[in-house]
């Protein structure tokens, strides 16, 4: 039945309540990846979903198995990643009895799933599974949880395969945008003197990257992206502004403050992007395109709302633009693009590489030595921001990060999921020494399944991002952010059966990366970097995004 939804891979961890399911699973062609912790299984399914474009599937047991998935589910919910998570449940007659390994996981995950189900009759199972997959992948995607009492999965029923789309009377996402609105959008885009596009994860999820690039180039509109939107627009394109927001580029944040029109598409104007909302794009009329109406006017006032799928909307905009005379557009943009270029030259992302390895240098060398073509996952914190700033992403689904929830420990399992989905691609997890320890056990999974993921630890011996805040806003009181003791990552990698490498001097960086890339199995690289390096630019939380601290 799950196979009927096109599933060929499941990430999971067995237990008493799902032992029957596992027994059955062994008799199918479905591949099962045994994680070392249920959180790892969900993040792996998340990484798998992003790279494969399919729904990620996870199977865990009841109680602690189920609660361990919550962080992974919440992360996927924030980032709109399609997952179906099957959790075991105690037998129906014990539900509510505080039975062994019982927890009300449907209650617990209600606010962090797109929808969830407790299946109470085996006759409902097939329909529920179909609905779960349909909900997960349609509209604004997201995780769906299906709780399966042991007696329900033990029962036998007949299953009729059907390719019909399940009908849910109360669920009908709007893919087609309103044409009248689109005509207004076209007018505004053509006429604007200082327009910019702010693209997000919605572009990647709806596979609208090519349409976006076409639109931006024909109208000469600079494009900034959110963290989740990195790769939606080629990072090396002259029109690319890089990322905006708290750690955005100078030119992206300055453009935001000075533009007269902003097309926000597949974004949700998160607080890490807008800073102080009153001053965000204060001179601009904002057009907001999103498939989820709740995203529109949630955080910022919107001049022209468009509810629709990003790809469908961009296709239609491009079709409408085919009928427009665009010959005067380049002249109209000249002054604006010159200004953007001036900002670009005034303040580039920069660091000064001397005797101690700079973390940014490691990311830049990774970019160079992987030809900008690796799939990059990150943990959360400084490592994530340096990866976002210094690896120039060329295509969608190349950058996997826990954007909304910000989960430390996301990167390694997500890299594993990505590698399962794309066995021939190079997958690198850019990590910090703090984050990596949150799910380091998954290295065993990588070794067991011969998944040659490369982990690059930017090891500064601190919980670096919090330390940076303490340095800037708490008079350098480094309370509990110093990781005084850490394992020897090289020996640890070896203990897991992976290759461990270390670089302590700048001239060793290239050699370590090359050795790692040449190694056929999983590798953990320990880069001893400048301990108190900070991520710049930085906008203090709640400040206008033009108030950047620049090194």
């Amino acid at each position: 039945m799950v196979a009927a939804e096109g599933v060929d891979t499941i990430f999971g961890f067995p237990g008493g309540a799902v032992i029957d399911l596992y027994d059955e699973l062994a008799r199918t062609d479905i591949r099962h990846i045994l994680a070392r912790h249920e959180q790892g299984a969900v993040h792996a399914a998340d990484g798998y979903a992003r790279v494969s474009g399919k729904v990620g599937v996870c199977l865990v047991t009841s109680g602690p198995g189920a609660t361990n998935t919550v962080t992974g589910i919440a992360s996927a919910y924030c980032d709109s990643i399609p997952l179906v998570v099957f959790t075991g449940q105690v037998p129906s007659h014990l539900i509510g009895n505080d039975a062994f390994q019982e927890v009300d996981i449907v209650g617990i995950t209600r606010p962090c799933t797109k929808h969830n189900y407790l299946v109470s009759r085996v006759e409902d199972l097939a329909q529920t599974v179909r609905e779960a997959f349909y909900l997960a992948r349609s509209g604004r995607p997201g995780p769906v949880l299906v709780d399966l009492p042991k007696d329900v999965v033990k029962a036998v029923t007949t299953f009729k395969e059907t390719s019909e789309k399940p009908f849910i009377r109360s669920y009908n996402p709007t893919y087609e945008p309103n044409v009248k609105q689109l005509k207004k959008v076209v007018r505004a885009l053509v006429d604007a003197k200082r327009p910019m596009i702010f693209a997000g994860g919605g572009i990647i999820l709806s596979k609208a990257s090519a349409d976006l690039t076409k639109l931006a180039r024909r109208l000469s509109i600079p494009v900034t992206t959110s963290l989740m939107g990195l790769g939606a627009f080629p990072g090396t394109d002259p029109l690319s502004l890089g990322m905006l927001g708290m750690h955005g580029t100078y030119r992206a944040n300055m453009s935001t403050a000075h533009c007269d029109l902003m097309l926000g598409i597949g974004v949700r104007f998160d607080d890490r992007v807008t800073g102080k909302t009153d001053t965000f794009a204060a001179q601009a009329k904002i057009i907001h395109v999103d498939i989820d109406p709740t995203s529109i006017r949630k955080n910022v006032p919107v001049w022209l709302p468009v509810v629709g799928d990003c790809r469908v909307t961009l296709e239609k905009l491009n079709a409408l633009l085919d009928e427009e005379d665009l010959s005067e557009v380049p002249a109209r943009r000249e002054k604006w693009l010159a200004q953007v270029d001036e900002w670009r030259r005034a303040m580039r992302l920069a660091y000064n590489q001397k005797d101690i390895i700079k973390p940014q240098y490691v990311v830049e060398r990774l970019h160079a030595l992987t030809h900008g073509d690796a799939i990059i996952s990150t943990e959360v914190g400084q490592n994530q921001m340096w990866a976002a700033q210094y690896y120039k992403f060329q295509r969608p689904n190349q950058f996997l990060t826990s954007g909304g929830l910000g989960v430390m420990g996301y990167g390694l399992p997500a890299a594993i999921g990505a590698q399962v989905a794309a066995p021939d691609r190079l997958v690198v997890d850019i990590a910090g020494d703090g984050s990596i320890q949150m799910n380091i056990q998954e290295l065993a999974t990588a070794v067991q399944y011969r998944l040659p993921v490369k982990v690059a630890i930017l090891n500064n011996g601190y919980l670096g991002m919090v330390r940076q805040w303490q340095e800037l806003f708490y008079d350098k009181r480094y309370c509990e952010t110093c990781m005084e003791h850490a394992p020897d990552f090289v020996k640890l990698a070896e203990a897991y059966g992976a290759l461990g490498l270390r670089a302590t001097r700048p001239e060793e960086v290239d050699g370590v990366i090359q050795k790692a890339l040449a190694h056929p199995g999983p590798v953990m690289m320990d880069f001893r970097v400048e301990r108190e390096e900070s991520v710049y630019p930085m906008v203090p939380a709640g400040a206008p995004i033009t108030e950047m601290l620049l090194v």
């Binding site: 929808h115 109406p293 006017r297 949630k298």
Partner: protein, 168 residues
């Protein structure tokens, strides 16, 4: 933007957990619920839920959109913009000392409500009406000694049925 009171009428799937989804949405996002009234419609698979909230325009827009986003919610109507009948029922247990009994019955008569339970100590009065009527009778009965009350919260129906929701 000032907060205004809104009566929302929701048609929802009559399934376990639906109320919890709605209540959780309101508490999780800091929306306000003043009253809530719910029971099944003519179609046993669908319940009508009448909810009173106080919100400014921007928050109300979010409430609307977030409710519509819940998979089990079929339809949301704001009765602020629609001509609607709104009623509430309250049961009032009022102390009925011999010297007050006649006065209580007179008030009950004037307000066209009824005494539904009598004991040696008290009357229980059933009042149905709009909120002004509730406030008025509670004010009049308070001096006699109200022991406890139970209110249903506002229940509402639009004056005209339109479209496919007719008959529910």
């Amino acid at each position: 933007m000032p907060d205004e009171r809104h009566i929302l009428s929701l048609l929802v799937e009559n399934k376990p957990g639906v109320l919890s989804r709605i209540a959780g949405l309101f508490s999780g996002r800091g929306f306000n619920i003043e009253s809530l009234c719910v029971a099944e419609t003519l179609d046993a698979g669908i319940s009508r839920l009448t909810l009173v909230t106080k919100a400014n325009e921007a928050v109300l827009e979010q409430i609307f959109k977030q409710l519509n986003k819940l998979v089990d919610i079929i339809k949301v109507t704001d009765f602020t913009d629609v001509p609607a009948v709104t009623r509430e029922m309250v049961l009032i247990k009022v102390s009925a000392k011999p010297e007050n009994r006649a006065e209580i019955l007179r008030i009950v008569d004037i307000f066209r409500c009824k005494v539904v339970d009598v004991s040696s100590e008290h009357y229980t009065v059933e009042v149905t009406g709009d909120q002004g009527k509730m406030a008025a009778i509670l004010d009049l009965l308070r001096p006699m000694g109200i022991k406890e009350i139970a209110r249903t919260g506002i229940n509402a129906l639009s004056r005209e049925t339109k479209g496919r929701n007719g008959g529910r």
